[in-house]
């Protein structure tokens, strides 16, 4: 048990050191949500009718936080493929630590990095004319951390199936982008046709963004959150557990 805690600690610490040393990574991953928020959100605000209760730029704010977390968590987990390709994964795999602690350590690394990036985006709220209290910000960060852990575990689950980065664009185009568009980030889930509606319901990001909407727009308005908060939290927690267990099992499987 103690050795597993040590392993989790040191895997997270390694990620932290690397994150602090590579400041370029922080800037490049923050560029994407900023472009979406101000260029897409800003442009669409002029087009989308204002009778929805709030400017479009404010409506997509929870979605942009979700996007930050989605990209940052999954990219952070994809580092497992780098570790595999550059051999460092072997150093971890031959160590006397359980596969669970490696998966949890990696997922927590992703959580740390993504939550920090989400915080930076959240702090932009005055720029787009929102008002958030300190209690709201803390709750947003809690949801962000949970969602980050969930998506980082999903990223690990994806990464354990790949040996090299050749398939990176496949992951990007067939997993990450559809997850983002089918999450209620850009438009309310309710507006989608039936089949797509089903896809949004099996997407953990939907529940994360729904919970963020709940925290950011507490007074129930049209077009904001779609599910009860308890369902959101339950969906995130359960899918996290499932992802971690499957990833650890796939890891354990010897060839």
């Amino acid at each position: 048990m103690k050795s597993d805690m040590n392993a989790i600690y040191v895997i997270v610490a390694r990620e932290f050191i690397k994150f602090v040393r590579e400041r370029g990574r922080l800037i490049s991953t923050l560029a994407r949500p900023l472009l979406w928020l101000f260029l897409v959100g800003g442009g669409m605000s002029k087009m989308v009718s204002p009778d929805m209760g709030m400017p479009y730029m404010q409506f997509i704010f929870p979605g942009i936080i979700g996007m930050t977390i989605l990209f940052s968590s999954i990219f952070s987990s994809i580092s497992i493929i780098w570790d595999k390709e550059f051999g460092f994964m072997k150093e971890m795999l031959v160590a006397p630590v359980s596969r669970f602690s490696i998966v949890i350590g990696k997922a927590l690394s992703g959580t740390m990095v993504s939550t920090f990036q989400a915080l930076i985006i959240v702090l932009l709220f005055p720029v787009i004319g929102l008002r958030l209290g300190i209690d709201q910000i803390i709750l947003i960060l809690c949801i962000s951390a949970m969602l980050s852990f969930c998506l980082a575990s999903l990223g690990i689950l994806i990464a354990v199936f790949y040996e090299n980065l050749e398939s990176f664009s496949v992951i990007m185009n067939f997993i990450i982008m559809p997850m983002f568009f089918l999450s209620g980030a850009m438009y309310p889930v309710k507006l989608l046709p039936h089949v797509l509606g089903f896809l949004t319901k099996i997407n953990p990001l939907t529940y994360g963004i729904d919970a963020l909407k709940y925290m950011i727009f507490p007074e129930k308005k049209l077009l904001t959150h779609d599910f009860p908060l308890s369902l959101d939290v339950a969906a995130i927690v359960i899918s996290s557990i499932v992802f971690v267990i499957i990833a650890a099992m796939v890891f354990e499987r010897k060839k």
């Binding site: 550059f86 051999g87 031959v94 006397p96 790949y162």
Partner: protein, 329 residues
């Protein structure tokens, strides 16, 4: 003495390819065991099974009495590994890489610093401990990996082609460290190489080809298999000299390409006798002792040089593509 590594009838198949074919051997504690063979002979596959990274198709492997499959956690605690490819984190410093390792192996907190510094001193990298590994040369990285592999005081150390891709100077340098390890760090070494001359430091060698062990023994024993030393002699009159050698020294001699070729068991002791007998007739003399490469040549009918191992490379390539398929499927 009980063996620290026991392998019995170990077989590993990748699809239709048999990478390791029913091998058996034992390694005694505190010795250096060499696993020799061309690329693709099954050396790395065997190491990966012993390191608990692969499970065998059939057969048994145990380290210090622990089964490599069933008690993988016990086995992992007791082994250190230097893989063929570099497994350091190049963004971290040398010290951080070793610190990461000491946490993973649960080294007691109050000993971490001392063990890391000792290991860095041992391989002569203490002065550069705070530099990122990406600035290190190939030889330094290998030395750092050796240092890392001994931090948790393993009982068995696996070295998979540790000198691959290093220049001759770094190779010699690394072998000095490796040959000191069993005494200084109380560890048994299991190493693979396809450089025959490097295997000379081993106490025992197993030669593997196409997944099968074709010979085992100490370097001396193996060399005896190809017969003794050969003395090449040039004289003023070869025909007369051969006659003298045959009659007065009772040795077998033949002429080949203008040289007299004498096969003897102890060449170094034989040369003074020859010179005394033939006296002024001797123009030059050279002694050729058998090398492990001769052993390999005799056993397999091919030299262990790159051009002769293309068959092995093909096998390696097909195993690799099979692994890829397997990983995706």
């Amino acid at each position: 003495m009980t063996p620290i590594i026991t392998v019995e009838n170990l077989t590993k198949k990748f699809g239709s390819i048999t990478a390791v074919d029913g091998i058996s051997f034992e390694v005694r504690e505190g010795t250096i065991f060499g696993f020799l063979g061309p690329n693709g002979a099954g050396k790395t596959t065997t190491i990966n099974i012993l390191c608990t990274l692969l499970s065998p198709t059939s057969g048994n492997a145990a380290i210090d009495g622990h089964d490599c499959m069933k008690e993988s956690s016990e086995v992992r605690k007791n082994i250190g590994i230097v893989f063929q490819d570099n497994t350091l984190d190049k963004e971290l410093t040398a010290y951080e890489n070793l610190l990461f390792h000491s946490y993973l192996y649960n080294v007691p907190k109050n000993e971490r610093k001392k063990r890391i510094n000792d290991a860095l001193n041992f391989v002569g990298l203490y002065e550069r401990k705070d530099e990122p590994v990406k600035r290190f040369s190939g030889g330094m990285k290998r030395r750092l990996e050796v240092a890392r592999s001994i931090i948790h005081q393993p009982k068995v150390l696996f070295l998979d082609e540790p000198t691959l891709g290093l220049d001759p100077q770094s190779r010699t340098n690394l072998w000095e460290f490796i040959s000191e390890l069993p005494k200084k760090h109380d560890v048994t070494i299991f190493m693979t190489t396809h450089y025959m001359e490097e295997a000379e430091i081993c106490d025992k060698i197993a030669i593997i080809d196409k997944g099968k062990i074709i010979a085992q023994g100490s370097p001396e024993e193996l060399k005896k298999m190809v017969g003794g030393d050969v003395i090449y002699l040039k004289t003023r009159n070869n025909v007369a000299a051969i006659d003298v050698i045959k009659t007065s020294l009772n040795l077998d001699a033949e002429e080949k390409n203008g040289e007299i070729f004498i096969s003897v068991s102890k060449g170094d002791a034989c040369i003074p006798k020859l010179i005394n007998t033939l006296a002024d007739a001797v123009v030059s003399v050279r002694l050729q002792r058998p090398t492990l490469n001769d052993v390999f040549l005799k056993l397999t009918g091919k030299a262990m040089r790159p051009e002769a191992v293309s068959g092995g490379d093909e096998l390696k390539e097909s195993i690799r593509s099979y692994r890829k398929k397997f990983d995706r499927g």
